[in-house]
C-alpha cells in the first residue's frame, strides 16, 4: 500500500506526518523532498548504501558537426544553439530526451552522464529509508524521483510512505503517480487553505483517493477545515498545535516511538487511511 503525503507549501508538517506514520508499521519511508530531505534526521538510518543518479546529456564531436542546426530546431527545450561554427549545449536546460542524437544526420552527437544527485538507502528499526538528494544548482530532480519510485516498487515492505516535495509541480506529480492514496496536510490559516486548494486540484486531476490531516490545530476558526467542509473532503484527523509534540519534533525524535499519546493519535489516522484504501479497492477493484 503506497501512501503519499503532500502539501501546497513547505513547513505544514508533511515530514512529521510521514515519519510518524511510517514508524508505526513495517514500512518503507521514501523521502521525495529531494531539495531538502529531512526524514533521515528523525530516523538516523544505519547501513547506508549510496546510488548516484545521473542524466544523459549530449556532447558534440566538432569534427563531425557540419552546422546543419537540425538538432537546434528540434530541441523543444532550447537547450542547443549554434553560433560561429560551433554548437553550444546548455546541459542544465536539457531534458535528456535523446532526440538531438537521433536527428543528427552526421552522428556528431553522443551521450554522456551528468551527475545530478544521489539516493541513500538505509534502515531504522522497522523502517527502510530511501532518501533522494538533488545536488545544489540542478534544475530538475524528476529523474531522482523516478528512481525512488522504482526502488520503492522493488521493496518488499507492505506499507510505503512517500514524503512528497512541497507544491504541485512536475516533481510532485511524479512522486504521487503510483500512490494508492494521498494525504494532504494543511495548516489552520487562510494561506494554509489556499495551499491546500492547490494540492486538492492536483489529486483531483490525478483521480487519486485522498483525505486531509489538519495540522497545528487550535481552538476556533480553521480555514482549511472550512475548505474541507465546503468541498466535502474527508478529514483523517487533527494534530494539535501542541508544545510537547513540537518539542519532540524539534529534537529530531519520532513522536510515536516516544509517547503513547502520539502513538494512539497517529495510529488512529493510519487506521483510517488503511480503511479508506480498502474501501477504495472494494469499490474500484
Amino acid at each position: 500500500m503506497k501512501i503519499a503525503v503532500l502539501s501546497g507549501k513547505g513547513g505544514t508538517g508533511k515530514t512529521l506526518v510521514t515519519v510518524n506514520l511510517a514508524a508505526l508499521k513495517n514500512s518503507s519511508y521514501i523521502d521525495c523532498d529531494i531539495e531538502e530531505p529531512n526524514g533521515y534526521l528523525f530516523f538516523k538510518p544505519k547501513d547506508i548504501e549510496v546510488e548516484d543518479i545521473s542524466v544523459r546529456v549530449p556532447q558534440v564531436d566538432r569534427d563531425l558537426c557540419n552546422g546543419c542546426k537540425k538538432c537546434v530546431d528540434f530541441c523543444r527545450f532550447n537547450a542547443l544553439a549554434y553560433a560561429r561554427d560551433s554548437l553550444i549545449i546548455f546541459e542544465d536546460i536539457c531534458h535528456s530526451c535523446g532526440g538531438c542524437m537521433l536527428i543528427c544526420p552526421e552522428n556528431a552527437l553522443s551521450e554522456k552522464d551528468r551527475l545530478i544527485g544521489r539516493i541513500e538507502k538505509g534502515r531504522s528499526e522497522n523502517v527502510e529509508l530511501y532518501t533522494g538528494i538533488l545536488n545544489p544548482g540542478q534544475p530538475s530532480g524528476v529523474p531522482i524521483i523516478e528512481r525512488l519510485v522504482e526502488m520503492e516498487s522493488l521493496s518488499n515492505k507492505e506499507y510505503s510512505l512517500i514524503d512528497s516535495p512541497p507544491g504541485s509541480a512536475c516533481i510532485v506529480m511524479e512522486s504521487i503517480k503510483d500512490a494508492d492514496y494521498c494525504v494532504l496536510v494543511a495548516e489552520p490559516t487562510i494561506f494554509g487553505a489556499h495551499n491546500l486548494s492547490m494540492v486538492y486540484d492536483l489529486v483531483k486531476l490525478f483521480k487519486k483517493p485522498f483525505g486531509v490531516i489538519l495540522n497545528k490545530s487550535l481552538e476556533g476558526e480553521n480555514p482549511s477545515e472550512d475548505f474541507c467542509r465546503k468541498k466535502k473532503i474527508k478529514t483523517l484527523g487533527s494534530i494539535p498545535f501542541d508544545h510537547d509534540l513540537g518539542h519532540l519534533n524539534s529534537n529530531g525524535k519520532i513522536a510515536v516511538r516516544e509517547s503513547k499519546k502520539y502513538k494512539d493519535l497517529f495510529s488512529q489516522i493510519l487506521d483510517k487511511i488503511i480503511e479508506e484504501v480498502e474501501n477504495e479497492r472494494n469499490s474500484n477493484p
Partner: protein, 121 residues
C-alpha cells in the same frame, strides 16, 4: 555594414524598448549602411523555457552585430557572445532614439548579465 537589433513591444518605428530581451514580441532590425529598419518577429516569445537562447539564436541567424537591450540573461549571453554580438545597455524611451544614441557613442556596454528567470521544470 553593421546590423543593430533592439527588443520592442510593437512592430513600428515609434515603438518603445521592451523591458525584456528573450520574451519581447519583436526586434527592431536596423541596417546602418542604408539606414533601413525592419522588424523580426520573436518566435521565442511563447516558449516555455529557454526563450533567451532561442531569441539569441534568431538574432545570430540574422547576422546581428549589435544588440541594444535593457538586460540579458546568462544563457542568451552565452550564445550572443559566441557569435561575437556586442551588447549595449539601452536607456528608456523609443527604440529609434536608442539607435541614434548608440551611433553617437552615448550608450555603454552591457556588463551586468543576470542569471535568467528560469521557471519550473
Amino acid at each position: 555594414m553593421m546590423i543593430i537589433a533592439i527588443p520592442v513591444d510593437e512592430a513600428n518605428v515609434e515603438a518603445s524598448v521592451s523591458d525584456n530581451f528573450g520574451r519581447a514580441p519583436y526586434y527592431l532590425y536596423y541596417i546602418s549602411e542604408n539606414e533601413s529598419s525592419d522588424f523580426l518577429v520573436n518566435l521565442a516569445m511563447e516558449e516555455r523555457g529557454g526563450a533567451g537562447i532561442k531569441a539569441a539564436q534568431i538574432l545570430v541567424d540574422h547576422n546581428v552585430d549589435i544588440l541594444l537591450t535593457p538586460r540579458c540573461g546568462e544563457n542568451a549571453h552565452a550564445v550572443l557572445h559566441a557569435a561575437n554580438v556586442k551588447l549595449y545597455k539601452s536607456v528608456g524611451g523609443k527604440a529609434m532614439d536608442n539607435i541614434k544614441k548608440f551611433l553617437d557613442g552615448e550608450l555603454e556596454l552591457l556588463e551586468d548579465i543576470h542569471e535568467g528567470f528560469h521557471g519550473g521544470n
